[in-house]
Symmetry: C2
Subunit: 335 residues, 2 copies
Amino acid sequence: MSKKRGSQTYVIDSDICIKNTYTIVGPEEAQGSFKDYYDYLLEDDLWECKSYEKAEIKLHKEVIDGVLKKEYLTHNNIDCIFGGDLLNQIISSSFSAREFEVPFLGLYGACSTFGESLAVASMIMDGDNMQRTVCATSSHFGTAERQYRFPLELGTQPTPTSQWTITGAGAVLLEKNSGNFPKIKSVTIGKVVDYGIIDAANMGAAMAPAAYDTISTHLKDMNRTPDYYDLIITGDLGKYGLDLLKHFAEVDGLVTDNIFDDCGARVYTSKQNCGQGGSGAGCSAIVYSAYLHKELLAGKLHKILLVPTGALLSRLSTMQGESIPSIAHAIDIEI
Amino acid sequence: MSKKRGSQTYVIDSDICIKNTYTIVGPEEAQGSFKDYYDYLLEDDLWECKSYEKAEIKLHKEVIDGVLKKEYLTHNNIDCIFGGDLLNQIISSSFSAREFEVPFLGLYGACSTFGESLAVASMIMDGDNMQRTVCATSSHFGTAERQYRFPLELGTQPTPTSQWTITGAGAVLLEKNSGNFPKIKSVTIGKVVDYGIIDAANMGAAMAPAAYDTISTHLKDMNRTPDYYDLIITGDLGKYGLDLLKHFAEVDGLVTDNIFDDCGARVYTSKQNCGQGGSGAGCSAIVYSAYLHKELLAGKLHKILLVPTGALLSRLSTMQGESIPSIAHAIDIEI
């Protein structure tokens, strides 16, 4: 019996709980809007490592360790680690996975990877193939800047639409039938959408159409209006991208006020000089794991649609004159 | 009811058929051992594109199109495309996915990605979450050489243990309950294994321990000996890596003669000057899709264990002095 609804959405029949979370963030994030919610705050984003890349690998490993320790679990209790990051060949995820004696499935959906990992893990667990898994994603300002844009040492000035890559990682523990925890109720798998944006410093505009495509498909597939949710929150559109997303929705007659928001637009305070807001594979991971999860547990939120967004460019694709294809996956989380 | 067997293996209860396949290969592969089995042979590996990267994107798109056309299907008939490749940010997969109006899940396990995609797709389909999917992976000699090693124009001499990245892509159509086709019966998800090899031109040695870890775990989890299978075939260990794998198995008392083989070691003839053999995310994809699938359909093989292998390095990890973590996933395919 198919669990598919409409064209792209799957209802998760089993009881897949997000049982616990763990987050580590860098110094900039530690001064941000959710500073009181993170588990571990770094004072130095090198974290005693010889390179930013090694620091990101450490971040990725330590959040997985962190969520396991919170639940008094060891590696043997975990069926699989799902994860990804922004670095070429997702080395943060792969190299951290070698520290664990746990099966590993590497995913890549750029900054949407946290959503992809929740979607893939919950669909696999729904088929009784796994009982307890960890999903983790990470990003690092220093590694992303030098891989995608310029080395920090150049002191390049950001453009008005640019965003600030999150230094941080988030991990969640998924477990079947664990009681009264936030649960993944349905997932919508995104299509790749490309509106022809070629400015790699304007990710919000590149990703907003993909986000709206997935959100509108989810609502249609599930026969819902936005107000079914307390919050529909995208991954890292930033302020400008969020405005575009709301515009798309309003043109279609959807009510967005007090419902639509974006992790990237929220993660820093207005006093921080972080452009349009946060971005990166760690963005939705830390905002969900630190803030949204606790709000759900506290009963301040009951139903949210988390929509991590990803810009699927590479430096090479940009150099070859390509536009920026984007994707978003929607995760319906309820308690 | 959990379908887990032992520590890392999942029995696929549903009837997940590999209903059809499609392959496109480059000029070198077109002279190789399986030249009569491929669907489409390129005379020029640029394929009328402006760059090798654009050619690889075209390869990836055309194999998906090819397998759909063989089955008279359109994009609307497909629940999801799973795929990955070796390029930074898997642009071959992502950029080809924008040509289809189909949900997309990007995966990265280096050259093991074909195995990862079969494992993830079959576990999701097993949960009744999807009915018909496409798994596709690709690689290209020109793009891989310049990304991982040196631009072709430099004419760098290969070392004795080096392999030849496959120019080619393979796509398979997975469908539930389609009758008498090869079926995915169980999957073993690999762990990341690192024996400290630091020579990026000796992938066979880096990956052989991961391959053996997964194969021996699979056999233990399923309580089988190698002779349960007509063939246990790894992805791209090459000749030297295959020798190492057999050595590991023989030390443990397993019989490997006439059972253990490797797609990379087989894909070129001994007359071709291709080092230890083929490698790349396209390697196991084209050998399964072109040769093994037809042998299964023809009744020449009945039970095979396909074990795509991946070296999870990046150019940057190598430059930072890191060793090469590796992974392998085992797919039990029977008819």
